[in-house]
């Protein structure tokens, strides 16, 4: 694997390979010594043009557990605020000797540009770009669903027949996009639930069903309910009348959680707006996998960095894993 830019173009075999390697990575994390020497001498740069807590920390932890050197770059307080272009920033990283660049950017397609422009030779991992994709989040979500369903017997399995409901601000959500592509590649059935104003225009082209009523979607007894964050920072128009109305119609409260069948799980990529899209009872219930998702995120990112950096370098884009 040369880069990880999206899940739309990720084939089933590659996706399963990442999930299976993540299983092995998770196993090493229960050992006495968690640190592995695997990526000694490699340098991973976290290039974050947008705020992030868990994704950046998760990539940092993953790289460090594999003994790679980590350089954290936040646009705030850097020369980007003096007007430096993406190209110049990238070439600076190249000159420092970065082997992999983990990039988060407010513009959709920025990681793709970094990977294909020829500015740098490092592997590029998309850690969220605009409203496009967030592939490692979808991978860790798929891993969490698989782990909850199959436990120690997860290796090699896909998500055939598993039904996932994704609820909330689909329009602005790169997490939803990455999940729709990945989950359907893995055989899951995806239903999107959203106010009509927060459904993207091209949604008919996605491998997912769209429903506007949350209770109707939950009545089918889904295996996983994934709540999306209401992205107030991206809301520049009136998408719904009031937060209270949103919460009442599309929020996951204790009553709705109680109606779910045994074994179905409640997911949230974080950060949560408690009381808006998810109530505290739902977020802290035994069904909630919010913290498991964070733990699994480290394993997934270890797997991705391993597959990107450990082997012989192939120079073809999207070459064999």
């Amino acid at each position: 694997m040369r880069h990880l830019l999206d899940t739309k173009n990720l084939d089933r075999a590659t996706a399963l390979r990442i999930l299976d390697v993540a299983e092995d990575m998770a196993d090493t994390q229960s050992r006495e010594v968690k640190k592995l020497p695997t990526l000694r001498g490699k340098t991973v740069v976290n290039l974050f043009f947008e705020d992030s807590t868990r994704t950046r920390i998760s990539f940092e932890a993953a790289a460090k557990r594999l003994s790679a050197d980590v350089i954290n770059f936040a646009a705030k307080g850097s020369s980007v605020s003096k007007g430096e272009s993406l190209k110049d920033t990238a070439q600076t990283l190249e000159a420092i000797g970065a082997d992999a660049v983990v990039v988060r950017h407010p513009s959709s397609g920025a990681p793709q540009t970094l990977a294909t422009s020829g500015w740098i030779s490092a592997g590029v991992v998309n850690a969220g770009d605009g409203t496009h994709e967030h592939p490692t989040q979808a991978l860790l979500d798929a891993y969490t669903i698989r782990k909850r369903r199959f436990g120690a017997d997860s290796r090699g399995r896909d998500l055939s027949g598993i039904r996932v409901v994704i609820v909330g601000d689909v329009l602005h959500s790169r997490v939803a996009r990455s999940n729709v592509w990945l989950l359907s590649t893995l055989g899951a059935e995806v239903t999107l639930v959203s106010p009509p104003t927060l459904v993207p225009q091209n949604v008919s082209l996605w491998p997912a069903k769209v429903v506007y009523d949350l209770d109707q979607a939950l009545a089918d007894g889904p295996d996983a309910v994934m709540m999306l964050r209401i992205q107030l920072e991206r809301m520049n128009a009136a998408y719904f009348p009031t937060e209270r109305e949103y919460s009442r119609r599309w929020g996951l409260d204790a009553l709705r959680v109680a109606g779910l069948p045994d074994g179905s799980i409640v997911m949230h990529p974080g950060p949560m707006n408690r009381g808006l899209e998810i109530s505290s009872e739902a977020a802290d219930s035994a069904r909630s996998t919010v913290l498991e998702q964070v733990t699994n995120g480290v394993s997934i990112r270890m797997a991705v960095l391993y597959l990107l950096l450990a082997g012989e370098r192939d120079n073809e884009r999207g070459g064999d894993l």
């Binding site: 390979r17 090493t28 010594v33 592995l36 020497p37 290796r155 391993y306 082997g311």
Partner: protein, 176 residues
């Protein structure tokens, strides 16, 4: 591609039985023994050896798997390898006599990686090495304690170990 068979089914069983006796002799019994195979065929061999030893000693001997992929020093010289699961028996390895088991000993680099991998899991009191085929060409100061058969080979030759559980056949061949 000419392949000649150097060990047949019966030869492999005899070699394993002999190694089992040698392990018991050097350990003065089966106490505190843990057999860890290196994937993939080493795991099969470790499981078989553990069975033979427990039959001889009339006491169960645990076996498991120790994956060394993440500890290798030659990862960047090959296409990316997928790791295999590591399975450590319930009793752990602290204070135990761990016998590492692999099918072919060549450069010794897998064994070096295995020693590092062991260290991340615990602290055995003794570590020994059992090998079905020693083909020479060591690149590190590592030598096996128990050997099924020495097969002098040239670097260009390939030594293939096939086991019923992994390959549906049971033989060791050498290919020019």
């Amino acid at each position: 591609m000419s392949a000649r068979t150097v060990l047949h089914h019966a030869d492999i069983s005899r070699a394993l039985t002999r190694i089992a006796h040698e392990i018991l002799e050097s350990n003065r019994g089966a106490e505190d023994l843990v057999l860890l195979g290196i994937p993939t065929r080493g795991v099969t061999l470790a499981r078989r050896l553990a069975l033979v030893i427990s039959e001889i000693a009339q006491t169960p001997v645990p076996s498991g798997a120790l994956d060394v992929t993440l500890f290798r020093d030659d990862l960047s010289k090959h296409p990316t390898r997928s790791p295999h699961p590591t399975e450590i028996p319930a009793g752990g390895i602290d204070g135990k006599t761990v016998v590492l088991v692999d099918d072919v000993l060549f450069s010794g680099r897998s064994i070096r990686a295995a020693l590092d991998a062991l260290q991340s899991i615990g602290r055995p009191s003794i570590v020994r090495l059992a090998i079905l085929i020693d083909r020479g060409h060591r690149e590190l100061p590592i030598r096996p304690d128990f050997i099924g058969k020495n097969i002098p080979s040239s670097r260009q030759e390939r030594v293939n170990v096939r086991l019923i559980e992994n390959d549906g056949a049971e033989e060791v061949t050498i290919e020019a």
